[in-house]
């Protein structure tokens, strides 16, 4: 995007430096509570990518972050800051649950497209209202989407407590989905090819859906006319109007796609893992998606890599909490927050000096 830096520095060096800084500060935090940071790092890495078992968890989280990251990325291309991934994924869960519970599915292959469609549709519908308010009324999308997160959560609580609760149950959750709506796990799928994989990790067929979503977003943004219009609008609204691109249409469509992607996260968590609708199945993944999209430079490949990184942090963090009792759950959140802080919010802190360095180097060269 700018001519000051070679592309590799923009795409690889700066995220790497950001990450390094985040780990450095996290290390200090770990040191401060009296643990050995290197030991902690080893636990994180071993616990997240050290075995097939840990990969099974890491990639499960990755799947969530790919969906929410892509959701933010698509909206970013239209210069819409959709921070309503959390609410859209919550509603996606409702859509997925309704799809699973609608009939007694004979086979998961029949159920799968309907679950995906239900999740995407509900997520998109939840994004549609803020999108319309932005496009027609100029209500700021950041405000409306964040408000819709709260509404979504309240709505879900109401539904689970009063409408959808399983009869006779004390917990605010639906009954378990019928066996025909059970999505194959990595263990089951790899068994078809005679490959062994541990049984307990929740990694399931949704991971493949996430990869497909990456390809879909790439083709959409860089190969279709719609993507062309979205990018043109994102770069310059007046120029888009000059070219006959309708701002209303671009805002609506990009936000619907964004909401749909966020909603599809529920295919993984609700249909794939819990197999019933719980009260908090999103668990902040909608917000992590913002950091993933920022770090991934809104490119599907970058989003995938960033999602894997955050998957590692989530799974590794859980292991760390288990192995080192001194490191509490909150401490893990602090470390994750530091990574988000350094890769997202403080990106320019590293970018500026590196850019200056490159300019100086270029000047130095003949």
């Amino acid at each position: 995007m700018n001519s000051q830096m070679p592309k590799w520095a923009d795409v690889a060096l700066i995220p790497l430096l950001n990450l390094l800084l985040a780990f450095l500060v996290s290390g200090l935090v770990v040191l401060w509570i009296g643990e050995n940071p290197l030991h902690a790092l080893v636990i994180i890495i071993k616990g997240s990518i050290g075995s097939a078992y840990s990969w099974g968890y890491t990639l499960y989280y990755t799947t969530n972050f790919v969906f929410t990251g892509l959701a933010v990325a698509v909206a970013f291309h239209a210069k819409m800051f959709n921070i309503g991934g959390e609410g859209q994924a919550t509603l996606g869960g409702l859509g997925a649950a309704l799809a699973c519970l609608s009939i007694d599915w004979p086979h998961w292959l029949l159920a799968f497209p309907v679950i995906v469609a239900g999740a995407a549709l509900f997520g998109a519908a939840w994004a549609a209202v803020p999108a319309y308010l932005q496009a027609r009324r100029g209500s700021h999308i950041v405000i409306t989407t964040i408000m819709f997160n709260f509404i979504a959560f309240a709505l879900l609580v109401y539904l689970l407590v009063h409408v959808m609760k399983a009869p006779g149950s004390m917990a605010p959750e639906t009954k378990t989905f019928p066996p025909g709506a059970h999505l194959p796990t990595a263990h089951e799928m790899l068994a078809w090819f005679g490959i062994g994989f541990p049984k307990s990790p929740p990694l399931n067929v949704s991971f493949l859906l996430a990869l497909a979503a990456c390809v879909f977003v790439w083709a959409l943004i860089w190969r279709t006319r719609l993507g062309y219009a979205i990018r043109a609008f994102g770069f310059s609204e007046p120029a888009a109007v000059y070219a006959g691109i309708s701002p209303f249409r671009v805002i609506m469509i990009s936000m619907l796609i964004s909401g749909g992607l966020a909603g599809m996260m529920a295919v993984n968590t609700v249909a794939g893992e819990a197999e019933r609708l719980l009260i908090d199945s999103v668990q902040g993944a909608g917000f992590v998606g913002i950091a993933v999209a920022l770090m991934g430079r809104s490119h599907p490949v970058g989003v995938l890599l960033a999602a894997i990184l955050f998957g590692i942090l989530y799974q590794g963090g859980a292991e760390l909490e288990f192995e080192l009792p001194a490191v509490s759950r909150e401490m893990i959140v602090v470390i994750q927050a530091l990574v988000i802080l350094f890769t997202g919010a403080l990106d320019n802190m590293v970018r500026m000096p590196v850019e200056k360095l490159f300019i100086r180097m270029r000047r130095g060269a003949p």
Partner: protein
């Protein structure tokens, strides 16, 4: 004028402002060349000139926004360095900008005090300002409700607040940059009354404008700038608008374009009663009617800001208007559905906007992506309903870049990395190669180097000769004269005169541009 040595004089007779040999360059562009100016204390001094003549640069130097490359500023006879606007205020200079610098949700009083508070507590400053405001209201007809919030005030009142701000800072010298551009006629005449009474109190006022009537109405002396130079300074009572217009437009070297006499055919564009009202309710385009025929170029001359941009945007489908537009006899919408830029293109209208960086190009797009911009629905650029044929676009780009001599001819470069002239060539290549029936083009050579100007002019004439109707909008009078077959002059949102190019001259058009018609 420059070598004149001033002998020592008593301080009270020294001019309020004296500029000696001021020069300022921006890269290769010399915005101010060796300018000397002396403004006597207690007078209103006008500075006129076309857009880009260097008026604003000169005032920015005086107000400390720019540092002159050479020259000296004397205030009341004392050599004064003005490195920033704080120093300017310290030297007693106040400036009322064309675009006001007010905090919209503060009250008048808060805005007046802002940046000039006496201490950490606001109370005393506000009380002081309030008593000053009451005094000034009586003295100079500068009445404004001190407790009104800025965003609720009309533009005329907001301007008074700007003047009050300067007076609160004890300015003795007031610079007003195009102060009447946003005012209604009655607001303008009230402003002039204020300026006269300020002068009578001994303040010195510099008025920058391109409206000659205002100069004649309110100033004591007037200076004319042209192409960065101060071409004349005269007493207003000794001159006439005609003379000033001539000095303003000057006799530039005309770049003559090789072209045959026009061979006009059927009417392509027939616009009647186009009116554009902006979101503040001000009419920017007033009842404009015009026709352009196949095979002719209609030039629209005028000082920038007299409705040309609005006309261009209505024809290009960017903003909506009332009235009617017919293209090749077919009615097209001026507002609502079907009036967007895409619909216009489908009617065969190509639009080269005035501001290529803002409208004509997406600066972060590659050259090839820009080459399809606006025509991205074209079947040649698409595989099917969904996917674009990027290879076809790249091919077309390579061809167009060669035809239009875009340098460097790299389709993969981002638009931002091309020079202004080459950016313009990308836009022109895109619009010209579609074989438009009507081309509307604004400032085709703004910021373009001489070589490219000739090339672009030739292409416009070629397009005409191939049977297109061309509507050319430019603030460069010689461009209008050398390209167009007919000239219409816009002033204050209207077309106030139309001439056959071969039967008119710069002076006549210059007068029209200044709003002076032979009848008045």
């Amino acid at each position: 004028m420059t070598g004149k040595e001033q002998s020592a004089r008593p301080d009270d007779a020294a001019p309020a402002i004296e500029l000696r040999g001021i020069s300022k360059s921006f890269g290769p562009i010399r915005a101010n060349r060796d300018i000397s100016l002396s403004v006597a204390s207690g007078t209103i001094h006008g500075i006129v000139g076309e857009n880009g003549a260097g008026k604003s640069t000169l005032m920015s130097i005086l107000y400390g926004f720019y540092k002159a490359d050479a020259g000296e500023i004397r205030i009341n006879g004392k050599p004064t360095a003005i490195p920033d606007s704080q120093a300017a205020i310290g030297a007693g200079i106040g400036m009322v900008h064309q675009h006001f610098m007010l905090v919209q949700n503060f009250t008048v009083l808060e805005n007046v005090v802002l940046g000039a508070e006496d201490g950490p507590l606001l109370g005393p400053s506000l009380a002081k300002a309030r008593s000053l405001l009451t005094r000034l209201a009586g003295e100079y007809e500068l009445s404004v409700d001190p407790d009104a919030v800025i965003e609720e005030l009309s533009v005329g009142y907001q301007q008074r607040v700007e003047i009050l701000k300067s007076l609160y800072r004890q300015a003795d010298i007031l610079i007003l940059d195009e102060p009447t551009g946003v005012l209604t006629p009655s607001e303008a005449s009230h402003l002039f009354r204020i300026l006269r009474s300020l002068r009578d109190e001994g303040k010195t006022i510099i008025l920058i404008t391109h409206k000659l009537q205002e100069i004649m109405a309110v100033t004591d002396t007037v200076s004319v700038m042209r192409q960065g130079e101060m071409t004349a300074t005269v007493r207003t009572c000794d001159t006439m608008p005609e003379e000033l217009a001539q000095l303003m437009v000057g006799r530039k070297v005309l770049l003559r374009v090789k072209k045959q006499a026009a061979n006009p055919g059927d009417v392509v564009l027939d616009a009647t009663n186009l009116t554009v009202t902006d979101d503040r309710g001000v009419e920017r385009l007033k009842d404009v009617s015009l026709q352009v025929r196949k095979g002719e170029i209609l030039g629209i001359a005028g000082v920038a800001g007299n409705g040309q941009t609005e006309l261009l945007e209505v024809l290009g489908g960017i903003s909506s208007a009332t009235g009617s537009i017919r293209i090749n006899g077919k009615e097209v919408s001026c507002s609502g559905p079907g009036s967007d830029a895409g619909s216009r293109r489908r009617c065969g209208v190509a639009h080269v906007p005035e501001d290529r960086q803002h409208l004509g190009l997406v600066m972060d797009f590659h050259a090839w992506e820009n080459m399809a911009f606006g025509y991205h629905h074209d079947s040649r650029y698409n595989h099917n309903r969904l996917f674009m044929d990027n290879r076809a676009i790249r091919h077309a780009t390579a061809r167009n870049m060669e035809h239009f001599d875009v340098r460097p001819a790299t389709a993969e470069s981002v638009a931002r990395n091309f020079s202004g002239g080459n950016q313009q060539k990308i836009v022109l290549a895109r619009e010209f190669t579609r074989g438009p029936q009507l081309l509307v083009v604004g400032q085709p050579t703004r910021g373009v180097d001489i070589g490219a100007i000739e090339f672009i002019h030739q292409r416009i004439v070629d397009l005409r000769d191939s049977g297109a109707a061309v509507l050319l909008i430019s603030v460069e009078l010689d461009e209008i004269l050398s390209l167009s077959d007919r000239v219409a002059v816009m002033f204050d949102g209207r077309i106030i005169g139309e001439r056959i190019t071969s039967e008119t001259n710069e002076n006549e058009l210059g007068l029209l541009m200044a709003g002076i018609t032979s009848e008045s």
